[in-house]
């Protein structure tokens, strides 16, 4: 029964992260390129337009190949009834997630390079900034920050509670604390960078930038809460010898991450609500 649920959830992970979201992203990229064409919005395309078409094609192909590889892996796991003889199912899920994550990294890197080219191509000597301070409270309700901190603290205390509050370097609690600290410190750094970091897109309006920051911060805070919950579940699984549930917890957690990151980003930022007029050709004087 648990194995069947695992296979269904793993299939859902494959479809969600390598078919559904990539398809949404692909459609979005194609929508931008067709509704905001190069001849009318030249500042949006610092590279030759063929490069964008090629990138979109490669992105789609990469995801299809990963989805196919995932399905083959799933079928092989079912046929050979893998229960950890070849590879632990939760490790398999995690490794496959890493592979699924590669096209996202591909998009992020290309975005950085796109913004860099935009900055280089930007010949305007005028720079603008808002006179309003950006602070965390403008982008997310403080209760969510408190919930994230409380969830982390609860996970740490729970870890030590399971080990009778003994501090051992080899214990799970110390390891879990280290992981949570590292993850939250990394997220805090990303939030700080989003709030106060350098403006990457030279043409972006403050209003659009604030939309993007709000989505990024909410995603990071919700992922932090999920990480604490996942850690508590993992510690419980270890404590109560429920190893068969570990792969289920892992794939659910990874799908929650996908929903909070890609899902939140796709759902919250509507292309038509962004200001594309800034990318138009400047009128000739």
């Amino acid at each position: 029964m648990i194995e069947t649920i695992f296979y269904i959830l793993f299939l859902s992970q494959i479809l969600l992260f390598s078919v559904y979201f990539p398809n949404k992203i692909y459609q979005r990229m194609r929508y931008v390129i067709s509704h905001y064409p190069c001849d009318q919005y030249p500042k949006l395309y610092p590279q030759p337009i063929e490069n964008y078409h090629r990138f979109h094609g490669n992105y789609r192909l990469a995801n299809w190949l990963i989805a196919a590889a995932g399905l083959v892996t799933l079928i092989l796991s079912i046929v050979f009834n893998n229960r950890g003889e070849f590879i632990e199912p939760q490790v398999l899920v995690w490794l496959f997630f890493m592979v699924q994550f590669m096209p996202v990294v591909m998009i992020e890197l290309s975005e950085f390079s796109q913004f860099k080219m935009m900055r280089t191509a930007n010949q305007s000597s005028v720079r603008s900034a808002t006179l309003s301070p950006r602070s965390l409270g403008n982008f997310i309700a403080p209760k969510w920050i408190y919930i994230a901190l409380l969830a982390s603290l609860t996970a740490i205390i729970y870890g030590f509670y399971l080990e009778d509050f003994t501090i051992s370097v080899e214990g799970s609690a110390v390891f879990a604390t280290g992981i949570l600290f590292s993850v939250n410190a990394f997220f805090a750094g990303l939030i700080y960078w989003n709030l106060y970091g350098k403006k990457l897109n030279p043409h972006q309006t403050e209003a659009d930038r604030q939309k993007v920051i709000a989505v990024a911060i909410k995603s990071l805070v919700f992922i932090s809460i999920s990480a604490s919950v996942f850690l508590m579940v993992t510690l419980s699984i270890k404590e109560y010898q429920l190893h068969s549930l570990a792969p289920l917890a892992m794939t659910i957690y990874l799908q929650v991450i996908a929903l909070f990151s890609l899902g939140n980003s796709i759902g919250s930022i509507k292309v038509d609500e962004l200001n594309f007029d800034l990318y138009k050709k400047e009128p000739l004087l």
């Binding site: 603008s128 900034a129 808002t130 006179l131 301070p133 709030l195 106060y196 403006k199």
Partner: protein, 129 residues
């Protein structure tokens, strides 16, 4: 409220910042007590050096257009609107013109005045003023 900096403008960037913030106060686009962005935020948004923005904030604070409230950041001074109209540069020029007039009247040459001015400024700088 947005401000704009022209990096090709011969006016120094910190002066452009000072003028624009004063203008925003005079035009009531920002009100007394309103918070200002941190030095780092403004510098990163404008692609300027932190020191440039810090210098502009220091000058605005000196003119009592803004006030620093420690870790909470900088805010528009309660008397900012009134203080925006005080132009310290004009005051300095006015006072110097008076002093130079007195010295010339006493028979000092321009060269002597320049040397003495530099000497006083340098000795003042050494004292840490």
């Amino acid at each position: 409220m947005e401000i704009f900096i022209d990096i090709d403008n011969p006016l120094p960037q910190f002066s452009q910042l000072v003028e624009q913030i004063k203008l925003a106060v005079q035009q009531k686009q920002i009100q007394p007590g309103d918070p200002l962005p941190s030095i780092r935020q403004l510098a990163n948004d404008l692609g300027l050096n932190n020191k440039t923005v810090a210098k502009a904030y220091r000058l605005l604070e000196r003119d009592s257009v803004i006030q620093a409230k420690g870790y909470r950041g900088s805010y528009i001074h309660p008397d900012a609107e009134k203080n925006c109209t005080v132009n310290l540069n004009e005051l300095v020029e006015e006072k110097l013109t008076d002093v130079i007039g007195i010295l010339r009247h006493a028979g000092a040459t321009d060269s002597e005045i320049r040397i003495a001015f530099t000497k006083v400024m340098n000795s003042d700088a050494k004292r840490g003023n």
